[in-house]
Point group: C2
Chain length 223, copies 2
């Protein structure tokens, strides 16, 4: 058996970072349900049990994967207006979640935040506090903005189309027929009109973020 310092043909032998990175890659193109310890090990040119030298169990692996996603979110820049900064942060978060669609479902079940998560939260809180938010108002803002990012990602997952055209086709052929006007007059009307104007749900994210930032700005002092 090939052992010791020559794993197979891989860069440098195993390591926690390499294990987690490969897990992310697999989840990216097969989903979390497609990520098994055996498959992960095979992709790394190793046996399944070797992974347990770097991670305690699969749950810890999932924790680490979520933290990788948090590490990809750009913290809000500190040299611009807070609204511009938080808008950029939210967009970056939305992009990270779009790159790793599995992350949103994992985040729900993970209760202990990883280091990248903490670092990111610190940066966001710093941005808000420096902009004049009180601790309580910054907490409100954090809950609202994060909630928008997560809530949008969840709803987007239920309408999984990458283009407005694809969504339009699907609406016409699948959704609308399920919405007879006598049973669902308002949904039918909405679907019809949105289809006609070439509706693109991507805009919803920005609409919401801007609405939230404006509303928070108005309540920034006082609260």
């Amino acid at each position: 058996m090939t052992q010791g310092r020559e794993p197979a043909a891989e860069p440098e032998g195993l390591s926690a970072a390499r294990v987690v990175a490969e897990a992310v890659r697999i989840a990216d193109d097969a989903g979390v349900e497609g990520l098994s310890m055996r498959r992960l090990a095979t992709a790394l040119g190793a046996g399944a049990m070797s992974l347990y030298h770097y991670i305690a169990n699969k749950d810890e692996l999932l924790d680490a994967m979520v933290d990788v996603v948090f590490a990809e979110i750009e913290p809000p820049p500190l040299d611009v207006d807070w609204k511009v900064a938080m808008r950029a942060e939210a967009l970056s978060a939305r992009e990270a979640l779009a790159r790793h669609p599995w992350a949103i479902s994992l985040m729900e079940s993970r209760t202990t935040p990883g280091p990248a998560n903490l670092r990111h939260r610190e940066a966001v809180t710093a941005c808000l506090r420096r902009a004049g938010f009180s601790v309580v108002m910054a907490t409100h803002a954090n809950w609202l903005l994060n909630g928008h990012v997560y809530g949008y990602a969840m709803q987007e997952a239920n309408v999984p189309f990458d283009s407005a055209d694809a969504l339009a086709d699907m609406t016409e052929e699948v959704y609308l027929p399920q919405l007879p006007p006598d049973q669902f007059p308002y949904l039918n009307e909405s679907a019809t009109e949105l289809l006609a104007i070439g509706y693109d749900p991507t805009q919803e994210f920005l609409y919401g973020i801007d609405l939230l930032l404006d509303a928070l700005d108005a309540r920034r002092i006082g609260g």
Copy 2:
């Protein structure tokens, strides 16, 4: 073997509704990961494979379970101001998700809405349209309000304490020690201050809903 019209000692023999209801009960006190077809069957006094006469597969069961949760959400009452109505609806949704914590993680992965889901969406859309929202503005409102409910539920799942006291204890003993002031000055400050004033994250939901309703009201006409 006891067969035919006398299952065991259960109400009326199996049925899709009974299977789904029992699945919800099991998930309520053991989580989705504690729900297996064998366990569900045992709880119903049946063999595992009997379930497949009422549901095609486990995925379809999960779809049906999610729809049960939607059925529990009170539609917005039509005889009051739209803000009051939507506030009540959001609260009801938040309560349903709190009763069934597993639902939020399932909703992410389910793409085909069940009948209760559709009925509920129809009622919400009706409420908004009658309040003067255009189709597009109603869509904005829907995304935002739903997003808030889901996003809040997700964040709440990461801070799983039923009382402000329990959260305070945990903050003092576990969270704060992980936030040294030199590394996380702002998070440390926030945790300390929130701890001092007896912060209760439950209020965040209402704060967010009211902010959203006010902001949407201002944009109701035009948009």
